[in-house]
C-alpha cells in the first residue's frame, strides 16, 4: 500500500521510534515570536543549555508590535509590558546567536507570512512554532504544527520533539469555485462541515481540483485554519504552483541545490493507493461566501442563510452552546446576514494579510467609501514586504481614499495584544481566524469572513453578498 504525504513527511523525520509509537521527530525549521518564547529561553539558561542548531531558527516580533508609526523602534511601543516582551526577544536572540527580523526590519511581519515569503519554509520540512497557526506552512508540502512553550524549549535544546503519529484525513474540494468565493470561504465551509473538533487526532491533507487551483496564498489560508478544525497540521501536496512560488526567495536553495531539491520535492504527494482513515468531500460549486455567526469557527453560515435557531437542535450541550453564543453575539435566530451591521472592520492576520488578500479587498474598496456607521476599518499587511508590494501597486491609495486606515505589519486586531482592539459590545467583520469570546477585545463580537466580504461590509456598513455588490459607483 502506498504512503500519504503525511506518512512520507513523518517517516523522513523519524530519528527513532519506540515500540508504543512514541517517536523522536527531527525539526528542520523553528520559527519563534515574542509571546511564547521568553520562558523557553529562560529554561535554557536555568539548565545551562545551548540551542542545538541556531541556523534552523528564525525569530520575529509580531503579536505585540504597534501598527501605528514606529520609526523610533521599540520605544514606540506604548505599553511597557508589551515593550518588555519585544525587548526580551531581541535580547534572547542576541544572547543565543539567533537570526531575528527586528520590529523595524523591512522583512518583519507575521511569523506565518514571513516564513514562506523568505523561502524559510520549504517543501519536505518539519516546521514548528509556538503558535497554533503554524499549520499555515503545510501549504508547501511541509509538516507544520504549533507547539507550547515547553516544546519550544525542547526544540531549541534538542532539535527534536517527542510525538506520536496522527491519523490521516483527506479533505477533497472538487470542481470550480464560483466568482467571489475564496480560499477563506472554502476553509470556513470545511470547518462548518466537520466541526471544530472534527480534525482532532488527524493530520489533514487538503486535495481535489479546487485546492489544486488555489494560489499559494489561498492554500496558506486553508492550511492556516486546519487548527480551527482541531487538526494540528494541514497540508497540500507539492505541485508546480508550489515550486514557482519558492524559486528565487532568499532562503531557498540555489543552482545545483535547487535542481536536486525540486527533484526531491516532486515526490511530496500522496501515492494513488495511499490509505486515509477518513475522507471528506465538498463540492466547490456549492460553497457560497461564508460568515460566522457565533463564538466558534464551526458556527458559520452561507451569506444567503439566516442565523440558526438553537431550539431546533436536539443535542442539549450543543443547544446550550448555541444559546450562549447568540446571547454573547447579541443576535436573534432567523436574522438575515445582511441585517447585521458592523462597528469595525479588520483586514489582516496570518490567515488573510498576503498580497492576494489585499488585492481582493482593494478591488471591492476601489471607488467606494467606508460607511458612516463603521468607526474603524483597518488594513494591516502581513509583512513589511507585503506592504511594499501593495504600495508599489497603489493599493494603499485605494484603501486610504475609501477611508480605511493603512497600517504597519503585525498580528494586530486578530488577537488584540497591541492597541488595536474591539471595545465591549462592538461588532467586527474580520478576516482573521478566531471568533472566540473576547478574542479581539473583551466583550467584542467577531464575524469571520474573506477579505472581499470584509471590504464589502466596510463600504456597506453591514454584511452583503460580495457577489451582488454590483458595479462601483464611486459615490456610495
Amino acid at each position: 500500500m502506498g504512503a500519504t504525504l503525511y506518512d512520507k513527511l513523518w517517516q523522513a523525520h523519524c530519528v527513532r521510534e519506540d515500540a508504543d509509537g512514541t517517536t523522536l521527530l527531527y525539526i528542520d525549521r523553528h520559527l519563534v515570536h515574542e509571546v511564547t518564547s521568553p520562558q523557553a529561553f529562560e529554561g535554557l539558561r536555568l539548565a545551562r543549555r545551548q540551542p542545538w542548531r541556531t541556523d534552523s531558527v528564525l525569530a520575529v516580533p509580531d503579536h505585540n508590535v504597534p501598527t501605528t508609526p514606529r520609526g523610533h523602534g521599540v520605544s514606540d511601543i506604548a505599553d511597557p509590558v508589551s515593550r518588555l516582551q519585544v525587548e526580551t526577544l531581541d535580547r534572547n536572540c542576541s544572547d543565543f546567536g539567533i537570526r531575528e527580523f527586528t520590529m523595524n526590519d523591512p522583512r518583519q511581519g507575521i511569523v506565518h507570512v514571513i516564513g514562506p515569503e523568505q523561502g524559510a519554509t520549504l517543501p519536505g520540512m518539519t516546521v514548528v512554532c509556538g503558535d497554533s497557526h503554524t499549520s499555515t506552512h503545510g501549504a508547501f508540502g511541509a509538516l507544520a504544527f504549533g507547539i507550547g512553550t515547553s516544546e519550544v524549549e525542547h526544540v531549541l535544546a534538542t532539535q527534536c520533539l517527542i510525538q506520536k503519529k496522527s491519523k490521516n484525513m483527506q479533505v477533497r474540494v472538487e470542481g470550480r469555485l464560483g466568482p467571489g468565493v475564496t480560499a477563506k470561504d472554502v476553509v470556513l465551509a470545511i470547518i462548518g462541515e466537520i466541526g471544530t473538533a472534527g480534525g482532532t487526532g488527524y493530520a489533514i491533507e487538503f486535495a481535489g481540483s479546487a485546492i489544486a487551483a488555489l494560489s499559494m496564498e489561498g492554500r496558506m489560508t486553508v492550511c492556516n485554519m486546519a487548527i480551527e478544525a482541531g487538526a494540528r497540521a494541514g497540508m497540500v501536496a507539492v505541485d508546480q504552483t508550489t515550486i514557482d512560488y519558492i524559486a528565487g526567495r532568499p532562503f531557498a536553495p540555489q543552482g545545483e541545490q535547487w535542481s536536486r531539491a525540486v527533484a526531491a520535492w516532486r515526490d511530496l504527494v500522496s501515492d494513488a493507493d495511499a490509505h486515509f482513515d477518513r475522507v471528506v468531500t465538498l463540492q466547490a460549486a456549492a460553497i457560497a461566501p461564508q460568515v460566522t455567526w457565533g463564538t466558534s469557527p464551526e458556527m458559520v453560515m452561507a451569506v444567503d442563510a439566516r442565523v440558526p435557531d438553537p431550539e431546533q437542535v436536539a443535542d442539549p450541550v450543543k443547544r446550550d452552546g448555541m444559546r450562549k453564543a447568540l446571547a454573547y453575539m447579541a443576535l436573534q435566530p432567523g436574522t438575515a446576514v445582511s441585517d447585521i451591521a458592523l462597528d469595525k472592520v479588520f483586514i489582516g492576520s496570518c490567515t488573510n494579510s498576503r498580497i492576494e488578500d489585499l488585492r481582493a479587498a482593494a478591488a471591492v474598496a476601489a471607488g467606494r467609501r467606508v460607511a458612516d456607521n463603521v468607526k474603524l476599518a483597518l488594513v494591516v499587511p502581513g509583512s513589511g514586504l507585503v506592504k511594499q508590494q501593495a504600495e508599489a501597486e497603489g493599493l494603499h491609495e485605494i484603501f486610504i481614499a475609501a477611508g480605511f486606515q493603512w497600517r504597519e505589519p503585525g498580528c494586530s486586531m486578530c488577537l488584540a495584544m497591541n492597541a488595536d482592539r474591539l471595545e465591549a459590545g462592538e461588532r467586527c467583520a474580520s478576516t482573521s481566524n478566531r471568533n472566540f469570546e473576547g478574542r479581539q477585545g473583551a466583550g467584542g463580537r467577531t464575524h469571520l469572513v474573506s477579505p472581499a466580504m470584509a471590504a464589502a461590509a466596510a463600504v456597506c456598513g453591514h454584511f452583503v453578498d460580495v457577489r451582488e455588490l454590483g458595479p462601483q459607483t464611486g459615490a456610495h
Partner: protein, 212 residues
C-alpha cells in the same frame, strides 16, 4: 516539573463545550515573560465583572457570582470537570500555567484539543478522557452533592467516586512515566544525542539544502 501520583480533591464542573484557551487565559496576560502568576486570571472574562489588565490588584475586582468557580461550595477545587474539545484554539501554554497556578492538577473531559493536551503533561497536570455517558453522570453527581470529591490514581489509571465506583482511563506509557517521576523530557531526549547527530549526518547527504 512536579510529580503526579495520586490526588483526592474537590471537583468543580464547567458545563460548556469548546472552552478555548483565550477563555482560559485572555491575551493581555500573555505579555508576561514569567511562567508563574497566571492563577488569578484563569477564566478572567467569566470570573470577574470588570475587565482586567496585567499588573492590577485582581483581588480588588468584583467577582461574577454566577461563574461556577466563584461559588463557595467549589472553593479549593483541584479537579476540573469539562466538556468536549477542552483547550481548543491558541497553543498558549499559559492556559495550563493558569490552571496549575490556580491549584488544578486534573482536568476530566470527553475530549481535548491536541496542543493543550500535550502542554498539560509538560506541567504536571493530568488530562483525563472519559466517555460522554460517564461524564454526564459525573456532572449530575457533582451538581447533586456538595463537597463532591474524586480520587485520581495515575499509577492504576483510575478515578474513584465517593461511592467507590471505579472509572478507568487511558494514558500514554511514556507520558505516564514522566508524570509519575516528574521528569524533564529534554534531559531524556538529550540521552539520544548521538542518534540525533547520526540522523543529521544522513539527512545532510540526502537534503543538504535543509542545513544551509
Amino acid at each position: 516539573m512536579e510529580k503526579f501520583t495520586r490526588l483526592d480533591a474537590l471537583v468543580v464542573p464547567l458545563d460548556r463545550a469548546n472552552v478555548d484557551t483565550d477563555a482560559i487565559i485572555p491575551k493581555q496576560y500573555l505579555k508576561s515573560v514569567q511562567r508563574s502568576g497566571f492563577g488569578p486570571n484563569l477564566f478572567d472574562d467569566w470570573r470577574y465583572l470588570t475587565p482586567g489588565e496585567p499588573g492590577q490588584d485582581h483581588s480588588q475586582r468584583p467577582l461574577n457570582p454566577d461563574f461556577v468557580l466563584n461559588q463557595p461550595r467549589y472553593a479549593g477545587a483541584r479537579i476540573l470537570l469539562a466538556r468536549e474539545n477542552f483547550g481548543c484554539g491558541s497553543s498558549r501554554e499559559h492556559a495550563v500555567w493558569a490552571l496549575e497556578d490556580a491549584g488544578f492538577r486534573v482536568v476530566v473531559a470527553p475530549s481535548f484539543a491536541d496542543i493543550f493536551f500535550n502542554n498539560c503533561f509538560k506541567n504536571g497536570v493530568l488530562p483525563v478522557v472519559v466517555e460522554g455517558a460517564v461524564l454526564d453522570r459525573l456532572f449530575a453527581a457533582v451538581a447533586g452533592c456538595e463537597g463532591y470529591r474524586l480520587q485520581v490514581d495515575l499509577q492504576a489509571q483510575q478515578l474513584v467516586t465517593p461511592q467507590g465506583e471505579v472509572i478507568g482511563f487511558e494514558v500514554d506509557e511514556f507520558r505516564k512515566y514522566c508524570l509519575l517521576n516528574g521528569l524533564d523530557d529534554i534531559g531524556l531526549t538529550l540521552q539520544q544525542a548521538e542518534a540525533i547527530r547520526e540522523y543529521e549526518r544522513k539527512r545532510r547527504q540526502e537534503a543538504p539544502w535543509l542545513f544551509a
